[in-house]
């Protein structure tokens, strides 16, 4: 696992050495700030619940932009070759990259803490719900990052990785949204697979084990698949 730390460090540095980190953080702040102010004005409630619901759309678009380069760039420039011929396991590489992208995701959402300070200034927000929302936001980030990483691992082209990642995340969001309020096994299955339903529970201030299990196990499954994909060059 020592190499995971080394990879993590390099990847995180690479983000901040390229414009990617600054661009995604800036874009995220513009949109989340817009939704925050609009929803605050509309509802007059000291809560992040409504603005964070919209935030999920922005995150579905920005997270694949964060993850697109992780494997695709290495595949394209060939740096995967020296990397994989160093004494590191495939898992260490994948996990290090995952952690780096997840860390950047968390850095990206960190400035929203300012909104909490603002809410505390204008009123009396429900801190429990806010903490639960952030737990949900971070767990959801892990899932989004692992999906983006998976897409990045199967292509050499970063743009393709970003586009497919965005589409996949939006589908995951939409199937949850569309089946809300509907009955039947199909809808309840879709609702379970979709991210929206699980995420909504957190914004209400509930940290339900079922939702935690959903995010953690889904993320773990995807990372497992990514390791297999990286390994697959061995039997292709």
């Amino acid at each position: 696992m020592t190499s995971t730390g080394t990879i993590f460090q390099r990847e995180l540095n690479a983000y901040f050495l390229s414009p990617i980190a600054y661009v995604v953080i800036a874009v995220f702040m513009v949109f989340s700030g817009y939704f925050f102010s609009v929803m605050l004005g509309l509802t007059q409630e000291t809560t992040l619940r409504y603005s964070l619901a919209y935030t999920q759309f922005i995150l579905s678009i920005l997270t694949p932009v964060i993850t697109m380069r992780l494997m695709a760039e290495e595949n394209k420039t060939g740096t995967i070759e020296p990397l994989m011929t160093a004494p590191v396991t495939d898992f260490e590489v994948v996990f290090g990259k995952f952690l780096a992208a997840w860390a950047l995701y968390n850095v990206m959402i960190a400035p929203t803490a300012f909104y909490i300070a603002f809410l505390a200034w204008v009123g009396n927000p429900d801190y429990g719900a806010i903490i639960a929302s952030y737990i949900g936001l971070i767990l959801m980030g892990g899932l989004f990052v692992s999906i983006g990483l998976l897409v990045s691992a199967v292509t050499k082209n970063q743009i393709v990785a970003a586009v497919i990642g965005i589409v996949a995340l939006l589908i995951l969001l939409v199937i949850g949204l569309a089946s809300a309020g509907n009955e039947g096994w199909l809808y309840s299955t879709l609702k379970y697979i979709g991210t929206y339903d699980h995420w909504e529970t957190f914004t209400k201030g509930i940290v339900d084990t079922r939702d935690v299990v959903y995010y953690v196990s889904f993320t773990a499954l995807l990372l497992f698949i990514v390791v297999r994909i990286v390994e697959s060059r061995r039997w292709r």
Partner: protein
């Protein structure tokens, strides 16, 4: 140090490497020579554990490349073709990253990196961003990376490709120096390079080994006979007859240029006819203006071997 047995690698229906076996002993510099697409890179990728073989086995530094790949990877320094590097990193930072990945203990890192930077003469660019470096420097950064954990074996894939003549000379000099301490397997399609650097050559073509020997032995093997090239002043006719009568001379080609004649004397394998040729010419009042042995270059060997293969297959 490297032992390859009946190695084969198949991509879909095509064999990139087909049943090759060879050995590289400790301290040797061995050249893997072949035209583009012969299977050099594939062989190296298998040896460096980047991809597994379809069949056969390879043993590097006492470890099996498939079952004990992490141990193998600790023992080798691999320079891939075209030297992929992270363009956004600084040279020193990159080497530190690689040293960590290769599990170099933290107290040795600084001194080891300094040593490699000096050895590969990249001191003046050590704080530059890799993306801004010229091809020659990038190549040497790659070499520094292969050395950083002091591996027993260096595997270099086309180490001088894309460099200008001066840089080629520098890199070759460096490889030669490294040969004193490391076992080296390098691939190339540039023949003088092999002649200069390698103690042994493995020529591969279309995934198969077609020849394996020292550069000089290969030349001897392939030489149909010893050829002498002469330029003589004197009576050409007389001298030709005298030369033809020498015991182990097989063939004499005479080119009459008036007062001066050119001869090509082909002797039997292993026979040294130089002294007989000299005395015979002197006896016939000829004056030798030039006499030299025509040695076959590796280039001709390579051409002959790869062409012969083609004749067999077509």
């Amino acid at each position: 140090m490297i032992k390859v047995e009946h190695l084969a690698k198949r991509y879909a229906d095509v064999y990139a490497v087909n049943d090759i076996s060879f050995e590289v002993h400790q301290g040797e510099i061995v050249g893997l020579l072949g035209p583009n697409g012969a299977g050099k890179t594939t062989t190296m990728r298998i040896l460096t554990c980047y991809m597994p073989a379809t069949s056969g086995s390879a043993n590097v530094a006492g470890y099996d490349v498939f079952r004990e790949s992490i141990n193998v990877r600790k023992q080798i320094g691999y320079l891939p073709e075209n030297v992929p590097l992270y363009p956004e990193m600084r040279v020193r930072e990159y080497l530190l990253f690689r040293a960590k990945l290769k599990k170099l203990p933290s107290r040795e890192r600084k001194s080891k990196i300094d040593e490699c930077i000096e050895k590969c003469s990249i001191t003046e660019v050590q704080n530059q961003i890799i993306g801004t470096l010229s091809k020659g420097y990038r190549q040497r950064v790659g070499l520094a990376d292969t050395l950083v954990h002091d591996p027993k074996i260096l595997i270099l894939d086309e180490p001088t490709i894309g460099l200008d003549p001066n840089q080629i000379r520098q890199v070759r000099q460096l490889i030669k120096e490294l040969g004193a301490k490391h076992t080296i397997l390098l691939s190339t399609h540039i023949l003088p390079e092999v002649e200069m650097l390698c103690e042994r050559v493995i020529i591969i073509n279309k995934g198969k080994i077609v020849a394996m020997d020292t550069p000089t032995n290969l030349a001897i093997q392939l030489r149909a006979g010893n050829n002498l090239v002469l330029e003589v002043r004197g009576n050409g006719e007389k001298i030709k007859n005298a030369l033809t009568n020498i015991k182990s001379v097989k063939k004499v080609v005479w080119q009459d240029k008036g007062e001066i004649s050119n001869f090509t004397v082909e002797a039997e394998k292993g026979a040294d006819v130089r002294e007989d040729v000299f005395s015979n010419i002197v006896k016939n009042n000829g004056i030798i203006r030039e006499m030299k042995q025509a040695s076959i270059t590796l280039e001709e060997i390579f051409h002959q071997i790869t062409m012969r293969e083609q004749e067999v297959t077509t």
